[in-house]
Amino acid sequence: MEGVDHFFERMVHEHQDRVFAASLAMTGNRHDAEEVAQDTFFRAYRALATYSPERIRDLKERAWLHRIALNVVRNRVRGVRPRLVELNGSESDRSPGPEVLAMERMQIDELATRVADLPIRYREAVVLRHVRGLSYAEVADALGQPVGTVKANVHRGLKLLRGDDHDRVDD
């Protein structure tokens, strides 16, 4: 039991930023992102308690956590989801900076809102490929889809995002 606790504590510290960033892109606001990210780790903890030591040792943590996070988001969509509009950064960041950072944060949050508005199949593909920076093969593995499907979904997702962006065409 002690071993799993140590493993989990290290995993939380190592992956918290990753999981939170992906959750932000999937939900579009920091409040929901924190809920999804927390839920992801809670589920991971419950799952670890049932895993054998061998299974824990062979775990591909990153892909595993992403899969759990995607499931958390999918399950939330089925329920009623109140859309929260963040007016300003109400929660403290770990690196509270000057106004430049606040501006950047606003732009990032605005982009997150747009990503979160994508249909879920495009959203998952775009988030894993471009927000999280996985390879197409890794995305395909995490989503359980063929690489071709992933590529098509990423492409359509990006196109939709650009379409919102004043019809700008960048390669």
């Binding site: 606790d5 989990f8 504590e9 939380v12 510290h13 918290q16 930023d17 999981v19 939170f20 960033a21 992906a22 932000l24 892109a25 920091r30 924190e34 990210a37 927390q38 780790f41 809670f42 903890y45 929660e91 403290s92 960041d93 770990r94 690196s95 950047e104 732009q107 990032i108 982009l111 997150a112 990503v115 775009v126 471009h130 927000v131 999280r132 920076g133 990006l158 995002l161 650009r162 962006d165 700008r168 960048d170």
Partner: protein, 256 residues
């Protein structure tokens, strides 16, 4: 022109909010939570986790408490709403009922033994440091007992204030200095003036002529003896020579 994929990458570099990891760990019961409780001693900050209460302090502010906890206990800590059940247990403890569970994981086996033994001292009574040392099987480690009690992470609930110097003086107190120790003992019904007078006169034990038993002066078994039957004793040898045996409840000496 801003490349969309570059922006998406920046979104991916967002960091989790402050305290996120601690909230996760607290959520699965791996970090400690804390809250402020109003008690007869004033406001007390208490930290707990799934194993029990892990720390208590009359800190001036939540920030002070967090800093002290992180330095002293070294685990993540998260503020939480005060559970009603714990609030009740805290009141009960301070009223002399023992209901609380503790998490003493970070302490050495010796420190844990000292604190567990200290917890056996009833409200309204005191014992010398030497008594704790002898009871846990380290009769020579009186100073180490003092150190362990000075570092007690859960004062008030593990009643280190009930351990006094062997010569009967009150001694120092990690939970707020000698004055705080006096105040708490007085609140618990210990007659400090009388205790100090006895100490000055060199009397350590109270013997009861009719039962031929000698006790620590605050032991509850000797409390109802008639004044005319009480004799004051200087030391164990003298007590035994006068035909007294040590009390089996407060154990002022090893029972032969």
């Amino acid at each position: 022109m801003i490349a969309l994929t570059t922006d998406l990458k920046r979104l991916g570099a967002v960091r989790a909010p402050a305290g996120f990891a601690d909230r996760v760990l607290a959520g699965v019961g791996m970090a400690d939570s804390y809250a402020r409780f109003e008690t007869v001693l004033g406001d007390v900050y208490v930290a707990w986790n799934r194993l029990g209460v892990s720390a208590a302090s009359r800190s001036a502010s939540a920030q002070d408490f967090e800093e002290w906890f992180r330095k002293d206990v070294g685990r993540p800590l998260e503020p939480a709403a005060a559970p009603a059940e714990l609030a009740e247990k805290i009141q009960d403890e301070l009223n002399g009922k023992r209901r609380m569970r503790f998490d003493l994981r970070g302490l050495t086996p010796f420190e844990q033994a000292v604190l567990r033994k200290t917890r056996e001292i009833p409200r309204g009574e005191v014992r010398p440091y030497g008594w704790v040392a002898r009871e846990i099987g380290h009769p020579a480690a009186v100073r180490a007992v003092g150190t362990a009690l000075a570092n007690n992470p859960i004062p008030y609930f593990i009643p280190c204030h009930r351990v006094v110097r062997t010569d009967g003086h009150i001694g120092n107190y990690g939970g707020g200095g000698p004055e705080a120790k006096r105040a708490i003992l007085t609140m618990e019904g210990v007659r400090l003036k009388r205790l100090e007078e006895l100490a000055r006169a060199g009397f350590r034990y109270q013997g009861v002529r009719t039962t031929k038993v000698f006790c620590y002066p605050t032991c509850h078994t000797g409390r109802h003896a008639l004044e005319k039957n009480i004799v004051w004793l200087h030391d164990e040898a003298g007590a035994r020579a006068a035909g007294f045996r040590p009390c089996k409840v407060c154990r002022p000496a090893a029972v032969a």
